[in-house]
Symmetry: C2
């Protein structure tokens, strides 16, 4: 059953108290799709039923050929663009700069879909969701993989009546899903827009993810995952987020943004009791903000899914996996992204070229590290927006 609304509905923008910026999709609603047939997971586990939270922007065209599936990264959710309440303090969706009328993902042309991943905590079924016995799954939730995330999305697209997407895209773990789509369902994807990611999580990814998990395990409130209804392991999760957040920035962007600026002091107070440097205060803020919206168990499961990602592993080799693809690729990497390096982008680009697949690779000079795919929308506009525009035009000629 598809809840709430017809998928092609473009939500009208009612009068709101805020002034919505030009190019905004305006007010949007989170929608839910409930699935009652089992989802058999790569880990051997099964979800007998599950729900996906999703949002859509723009209008599905008559031949259902203008869909773009956006896949979110570790800490993202289905709320890509627009506003939920219209409250003046409300922040828009996580990629609002990129999704809307006239933007990179132009909702005047495309029907954009994003669903919260399975294992998540923003409306889709995850460890904080009730298990069949009515209690939260907690660690009874089966381990999930990027493959499983994509399989759940496939069911959503079937439900929405979309056989083939014009493009599937995302940054970081979102790009992993996009690549998985192209390999697992080659006949359902025309273009993959692969941003700031890798075909295979590196030892460095795993190391940072594991450090974050250990910070959560070390929080006594974590209680082996069984904390729902009691205090959550927010201190551990905040530490995990702080470490991860550093990896999303770059040495240069941290230096530019904070340098050695002091926080609320003219001279060094020499104390452990409060943040002394602005960058400390910023990290503490990032940690606090994150724990308000994210479930610690979801963090464990989703970081594991990232660690597991190795697109070649299930097909014998990377080349064998990529040989299955039938789509065109745009691969974007950023010079200052030290988490998902230029080499990792090439690890995808080179075999695709050898296989004769259409592939464009852009290594964009950008100082903001891994987060560039979120914040460097101006730099991405000619590359990603231009690619999409050319691809759409040539398709319609």
């Amino acid at each position: 059953m598809l809840a709430n609304t017809h998928p092609a509905t473009r939500w009208p923008t009612p009068p709101v108290t805020r002034s919505v910026a030009p190019g905004s999709v305006g007010l949007v609603q989170r929608q839910y799709a409930h699935f009652d047939s089992p989802l058999h997971l790569r880990s051997g586990g099964t979800l007998e039923r599950f729900t996906l939270a999703y949002e859509t922007y723009g209008t599905l065209n008559a031949d259902r050929s203008n869909a773009i599936l956006v896949c979110h990264a570790l800490s993202g959710d289905a709320h890509v663009a627009g506003y939920h309440t219209g409250h003046p303090d409300e922040k828009p969706g996580w990629w609002d700069d990129a999704v809307g009328p006239g933007k990179i993902f132009d909702t005047d042309r495309f029907f954009v879909i994003c669903s919260n991943v399975i294992g998540g905590c923003q409306g889709s079924t995850g460890p904080s969701s009730p298990a069949p016995d009515g209690k939260p799954y907690a660690l009874r939730f089966p381990m999930v993989t990027v493959d499983d995330m994509v399989e759940a999305q496939r069911r959503l697209l079937d439900r929405l009546g979309i056989r083939k997407v014009f493009a599937v895209t995302g940054g970081s773990m979102g790009a992993m899903q996009a690549l998985q789509w192209a390999v697992a369902h080659p006949d359902r994807v025309e273009h993959v827009l692969f941003l700031a990611s890798t075909p295979r999580s590196s030892a460095l990814h795993i190391a940072f993810n594991e450090t974050g998990r250990q910070a959560i395990y070390a929080d006594p409130n974590w209680n082996n995952g069984d904390y729902y209804g009691g205090p959550a392991p927010t201190r551990g999760l905040a530490v995990a987020r702080m470490a991860a957040h550093i990896t999303y920035m770059s040495e240069a962007s941290l230096e530019h943004k904070f340098g050695r600026n002091l926080q609320d002091h003219e001279t060094l107070p020499y104390t452990l009791a409060e943040p002394e440097f602005a960058v400390e205060s910023y990290l503490a803020y990032q940690g606090r903000k994150f724990v308000e919206r994210f479930d610690a168990n979801s963090y464990l499961y989703i970081t594991k899914a990232i660690d597991y990602f190795d697109i070649g592993a299930d097909y014998g080799s990377l080349r064998a996996a990529l040989e299955r693809t039938q789509c065109a690729f745009l691969v974007v990497s950023f010079t200052s992204d030290w988490l998902y390096t230029a080499q990792q982008a090439l690890d995808l680009v080179e075999p695709l070229r050898e296989l004769g697949r259409p592939v464009e690779h852009h290594h964009i000079e950008a100082p903001f590290g891994h987060d560039s795919f979120l914040v460097e929308v101006d730099l991405m506009t000619p590359v990603v927006g231009g690619y999409l525009s050319r691809a759409w035009t040539s398709r319609c000629e």
Copy 2:
């Protein structure tokens, strides 16, 4: 009072059960120097008395001109080389590859000294030491800076009767101390060998250090620093160490050493209950090993000292600080060190050159990240050993 031994004593090597590798300094003893006059600290605090633990290797020559002061990094201690017990399982000092007869710091030629920093936990006075009231200082210990570490070392050199060192050296925080020596006591240093470091801790350093501190604060056993006699905050400290340890390696060295190798499994077990990847097991081991030997409060204090380090801050500018120096400099950076970057080395080298100071800079191609200064001894031998040898020879001509 200088404890235990005359400083110039070369400890004889008694028969041991282990076969000591050629080039080892053999069995050594930790020595202690107790100081009864107050140490006034940059933070405004005072230590009425303090102790430095130190070791020496080689023999001080007649005119006391062959001393090399080695300064240790965050997690180091005075035990640079040789063995304490001779037990077959004992590991040698932390820079044993570099310090010994015929090695980079050739103990046939030089008298090598290293003391544990003030604030440390390996024999020198720090937060785990008894305060005048007999109870551990814990957070009553005053905040310390690199400047304070050097001032404590200065007293030790006075005690040892060494007016001027031929060289002062170290990597990372050790190099910060070496640079501080050259600026604070320009007439007491002939050469600074500055390895894998910076004249000014960056926002990235502070960010990672703060993440580690927050992991310790989040451990309920930390108890606002008051845990001596009870369970120590080992889980928090282990997480801090894991995050830091990653920053000491490089993406390439982690990939080379571990890649996606599994730990004790042929196929992925898909579990949160145990390490799945070898790199996870390695980090856990690093965490466990560290908490056996390191005090969490010392970790807080020493990381703060690193954060505070900005050699120009106390002198108006970097140039004004460096203008005080009278020594020659060897600056070494490593291509894969992303914590202490090539640019940070240049931030020291360029103003030194402008000031006409003798300075050699080598940017060494090495894959092991920041840890290169510890593990790439073969690569450092021609550069650092060669520099020292030339400098010593020209001095004696």
